[in-house]
Symmetry: C2
Subunit: 355 residues, 2 copies
């Protein structure tokens, strides 16, 4: 069981350290190796995804990823900026299925900007296709506008695209996930405007024929953005493309008000995966020992579940996190009157103790 640990930038190293501690406390034999990625990769090796880091990730069974990005790299050209590492890893490792649960722990209902009755008990799973769409489509660039009223001017352009097989495999992931949950899938597209959207809808509808036990409905992306605000609990599994998934999964995460609690998994076709918190690198609080490590710890639990099939150990971690919340322990991002404020390391230790 080889795990590549890629702490990255900002709070990445602090939070990853806590997840490693939790993994080590399970009594399993993991082989862990660490490498620089993102801004740290650029600083050490001149590239956000150094060859040595990519090799480590490829050779491992799973990757535990912290976060990347820092203001100090804002001036770099796009190809060298920290976030290119995450795009590169997704593409190079074929991590096409991004699973992002948006769960609101009852103890944290007050942290949401939404009314408690709208979000308490929220438990939705957003499945975002992660290696296709306008993120990687070609051609793209800046060219001379070929026709129309702006002919001859410069224009920026990108290509949105989805091949049949790409849609099929992510649709299967969504239907399979729904079978283990409330058996409802909402597929989100923009079929009323985009050719890609209509094609997406047709293929998802076709794959659905293999899943008689799962209910499928289709929703336009603008409406999905509204329904997430209006009645998020009505969703079970939501599946969508890379671009719309980027927007909707972040919106859904923010509904909980506690994005510091939300893990994610990005899987390939063979259950190899990259696991990372849904939040970013928060360079403004880096190194202060106040970052919330729970999303990363819960990401490690997803790793045990999806890559290593260690369901029992994954449950142990999930339950330990619930227990520390029940004990009233809170990092500053989720702190409320009456709860006990702890730092990154204390929180990690508390989870280990609760295992």
């Amino acid at each position: 069981m080889k795990i590549a640990i890629l702490p990255g930038d900002g709070i990445g190293p602090e939070i990853t350290a806590q997840a490693v501690k939790v993994l080590n406390a399970l009594g399993e034999r993991f082989e862990m190796d660490t490498a620089e990625v993102g801004g740290a990769g650029y600083a050490a090796h001149g590239h956000p995804l150094p060859d040595s880091t990519l090799k480590l990730a490829k050779d491992a069974d799973a990757v535990l990823f912290g976060a990347v990005g820092d203001y100090k790299y804002d001036g770099l050209e796009r190809a060298l900026r920290p976030e290119q590492a995450i795009l590169g890893l997704r593409r190079e490792l074929g991590l096409f299925a991004n699973l992002r649960p948006a769960i609101l722990y009852p103890e944290l209902a007050g942290a949401s900007t939404l009314k408690p009755e709208v979000v308490s008990g929220l438990d939705i799973l957003i499945i975002r296709e992660l290696t296709g769409d306008i993120y990687f489509g070609k051609p793209r660039g800046v060219r001379e506008c070929p026709d129309g009223p702006f002919k001859g001017q410069r224009e920026g352009f990108d290509t949105m695209r989805y091949a049949e097989g790409e849609i099929r495999r992510i649709a299967h992931v969504a239907f399979q996930a729904a079978l283990k949950r409330d058996k409802r899938v909402t597929s989100v597209d923009k079929a009323n405007v985009l050719e890609t959207g209509q094609f997406w809808r047709d293929i998802v509808t076709d794959v659905h024929k293999e899943y008689a036990g799962v209910e499928l409905d289709h929703m336009y992306v603008d409406n999905a953005a509204m329904q997430l605000v209006r009645a998020p609990k009505k969703f079970d599994v939501l599946v969508t493309g890379n671009m719309f998934g980027d927007i909707l999964s972040d919106a859904a995460a923010m509904l909980t008000g506690s994005i510091g609690m939300l893990p994610s998994a990005s899987l390939d076709a063979n259950n190899k995966g990259l696991y990372e918190p849904s939040h970013g690198s928060a360079p403004d609080i880096a190194g202060q020992g106040v970052a919330n490590p729970l999303a990363t710890i819960l990401s490690a639990a997803m790793m045990l579940r999806f890559t290593f099939g260690l369901t029992e150990q994954a449950d142990r971690i999930d339950n330990a996190v619930k227990r520390v919340l029940a004990q009233g322990l809170r990092t500053p991002d989720i702190h409320e009157a009456g709860s006990t404020r702890v730092g990154t390391e204390e929180m990690g230790n508390a989870v280990v103790a609760a295992l």
Copy 2:
């Protein structure tokens, strides 16, 4: 002052009738002509945007638009579906600037799914580019996938694109609007991934040089979706492309919980405009006399303001709407205990009385 009235489908005719009544009560000399559009256009003339309707709209100084769409047209091929009318009008009339205020009337703060302290007093203006982007970009369609692991399969594809001049003119609209408000513009893109996004950012930054009095910041679209949920009141003017604007403007509208109150304007380069409520055609409640006409009435006020320069008359309508709200009159969509439930027509009459 020629106005084309296009009531459309669902509740469109009912709500448009109330706005017409309000316009007629102002004592100005408007010339109004009505034509079918959307499903009604298809039913009457075999096309959602019949030639005669398009001609009427072109010949008019402004268009008052109800809403289009009904379940009964779901089976039509895409080119004949009701929403093609709205895309056709935008393109044919060159309505590139969509202005969508998201305002929460103090009396209606309870209708929001967000906590009152997060949204009360909300007053943001979303400016969405409306004739470019992936909505109209070519090439698009379904083709054989030319390369990569899915080579030879079918794929759906679309082209995102923005020419320099298209970005410049919408940026000017945003900065000009900000000058009349809190003088802050947030430009939303996905410059960390898309070439179009980086190009958009570069051009908006360049246009900003002409507006020393306006503050500009840039935000990625996923972060913007989060910030709208987390702290929407921090925004003043938000400007973005057609696709992201579709998603974010609907999310912002839903924050208020009273989308039945929100007008919109879609303007060309010479202040000709199409004015319509932000909500849809609600076929489920059509013909029952319960739809909220206020968004359409407020859209008529925007028309007076932007197309006809009748600021005083526009203010009269805006104030009349505030007055009926203060009187406690509510259509069912915004009804709360203690307020007086009224129907579409009563609400329209109340606004006329309050003028």
